[in-house]
Symmetry: C2
Subunit: 387 residues, 2 copies
């Protein structure tokens, strides 16, 4: 299949690279918006470190803080306002996917006269954006090397995505030291997020002979995450494990494993609907629950891809293709369970009474998915499968 | 290990993408230098096609033609002269690695007052370069998505490399249709070149736990090439096989599998010395001969990497690590032989009498290699091993 690929983000990877943040920022501006999360950047000392470096290079900054998981559009609007008032022309995101995605939404919203949410509901198209830079603190979203952003709207209870080549960060500093303080739970949800990104590109309807290399790369990421995650769970302050998972997160969603492929993002969309309704559900947690159910629901559409997954990742070889494929999905579920991650909606307190609203949200712009077109009925069945 | 990675080249991949060449060129200039090879672009009709498209977009072009394998600096100098006379500000390379590398050397030479060869012998540093674009016709060099160029000097009998971030093509059109006419011999030498690029990054002294993902990516490319090359040999006009090998060639040398790794390019340097002396020896052919000998010579330095190669690529598992590793190298040699590629110097008419001059050239700037530092004595032993 034909494709276009361009990865304009400059990656600065490794221990201690945070020290380069002001040098890279200075290339773009000396009057910036610094976007950070709720607490961790201040608690870990990273905020102090970054601002000291900025001060040292005489870079002025305004701070937008308080971005939380499932970031909301109201803080995006505040960020846009600050930038307009202070004539700021660069955004530095110090955080994980939520912080980066907020920065991206601000970056394009600044140049748009209407409300930034218009981009998310497809009422407007992104035509221009401020440059942004990143200091990554969480290995999960992959937002550090792509043009995607996901933001929630608490009023409309929507969680939607935008995507534009203009939103690629100009640079991303990937210093594994900054992930050392991520607590166990969020480290593991990050792992699920990474794997899910790979699955969304790996399990699709592209004929397998058309994406041999991409699929081997995808399997490389899956194998590496599966090998390292349990070790990291037992040794959260191991820089080498942190670095490996961090690099997996970036490579999972920068286009390399998905180029020339069809993709299927329906599990992601179902999860977005879940965490739009239950905003205490982490994205990764929701994905760990939804994905195995989605896999079982669509297995007949692409049995050979699930067979490859079972064989190449888990070394399974049963009598039939479907038997092998099903066992592979079971292994994935067991992998999550062994890490201590819930894999059923009931384990996190989500019950049948909310299935209808979740399913309606998931398909609010029409049927989702490419492996199998999913309408509301289908989503309800998937929710029941993981209930 | 820390690293920086940025891949600014925009890839336009797939059947029929050649039609976009003028559109992409127009973004940069309407007064360009068109660099092509000796005959094939004209014989296959690609030259006509590209120039028609350029004419249609009113893009003026001067043609520099006659670039051959192991491109020489004299044509680079002529290209620089044309550009200066005609106020040209963009170079379009339609060809394989030789044509692209010539374009890169011209691109930086234009802005340098002295002779362009100064860059190659490290007398000068590249500070500025014209933008270049690529229509790739040969899957081999990987030059379409990196900042490297290798050029020969027939007077000094040197074959040397330059590398600069400024030399990344702005865009590269990878249309597998343009490789359908590559004859068997050069198709296979391309395959060797691709594998060799992977080996140079895979077989190095980086601790294996520091490059788990990169090495799995490398193995993905090796496996894919080994799977597809014999099929392609029997079906040279299969677009899908051509596309897969083409994408492997780009991914082998764009930085993805080598980031954070030490690399060892000594086999490449020995081969460059060989084809500087025997300019009828294709780069790929020389590499097929030198590489297995180099592997055997340095095996004790990194036995576990050769063991991984044997186990993960060929499925070999003998009693000892070294036994397994050695059999893996043997399998590689057999793979080349089965494709009909010579693996000994004697098969291509190179005899002991020239070993001294080759070895001297290989180490003319000092000892080479990182897995094991090779001086002239070592290179002579490697040449003897593949004699």
């Amino acid at each position: 299949m034909n494709f276009k690929l361009s990865l304009p983000t400059e990656i600065i990877f490794g221990e201690g690279t945070t020290n380069e943040v002001a040098k890279y920022t200075k290339k773009f501006s000396d009057n910036i918006l610094l976007v950070i999360g709720k607490k961790s950047a201040k608690e870990t000392g990273l905020f102090d470190k970054v601002t000291k470096l900025l001060n040292y290079e005489n870079i002025k900054y305004e701070v937008l803080e308080g971005i939380k998981a499932n970031p909301t559009v109201d803080l995006v609007r505040i960020g846009i306002e600050i930038i307009r008032q202070k004539n700021i022309d660069f955004i530095l995101a110090v955080g994980g996917g939520s912080v980066i995605d907020t920065a991206k939404a601000i970056a394009c919203g600044v140049f748009y006269e209407g409300d930034v949410w218009d981009f998310f509901v497809r009422k407007a198209v992104i035509k221009k954006a401020l440059p942004i830079g990143v200091v990554l603190t969480l290995a999960a979203a992959g937002s550090e090397m792509n043009g995607n952003a996901v933001v929630s709207n608490t009023e409309t209870k929507q969680k939607l995505a935008i995507s534009s080549h203009l939103l690629y960060p100009k640079f991303s500093i990937l210093d594994p030291i900054n992930t050392l303080t991520v607590p166990l739970e969020h480290t593991l949800y990050g792992v699920v997020d990474i794997l899910s990104h790979v699955f969304e590109q790996y399990f699709d309807k592209t004929p397998q002979e058309e994406s041999i290399l991409q699929d081997r790369f995808a399997e490389s990421i899956i194998k590496t995450v599966i090998e390292i995650a349990p070790k990291l769970k037992d040794d959260l302050s191991n820089v080498s494990y942190r670095a490996t998972i961090m690099w997996c997160s970036t490579m999972a969603l920068n286009g390399i494993i998905g180029c020339g492929k069809i993709h299927d993002w329906s599990s992601h969309q179902i999860e977005h609907a879940i965490s739009a309704v239950y905003d205490n559900i982490s994205h990764g947690l929701g994905l760990a629950i939804v994905f195995p159910a989605w896999m079982r629901y669509v297995i007949d559409e692409i049995p050979y891809k699930f067979y490859n997954f079972a064989k190449n990742i888990w070394g399974i070889k049963k009598e039939s293709i479907v038997e092998t494929a099903l066992e592979g999905i079971g292994f994935l579920e067991k992998f999550y369970k062994d890490l201590g991650i819930p894999t059923k909606l009931s384990e996190v307190g989500i019950t049948h009474k909310d299935f209808d609203i979740i399913a309606s949200k998931a398909v609010e712009f029409g049927a989702i998915g490419s492996v199998k077109k999913l309408n509301k009925e289908d989503v309800l069945k998937i929710l029941t499968l993981c209930s």
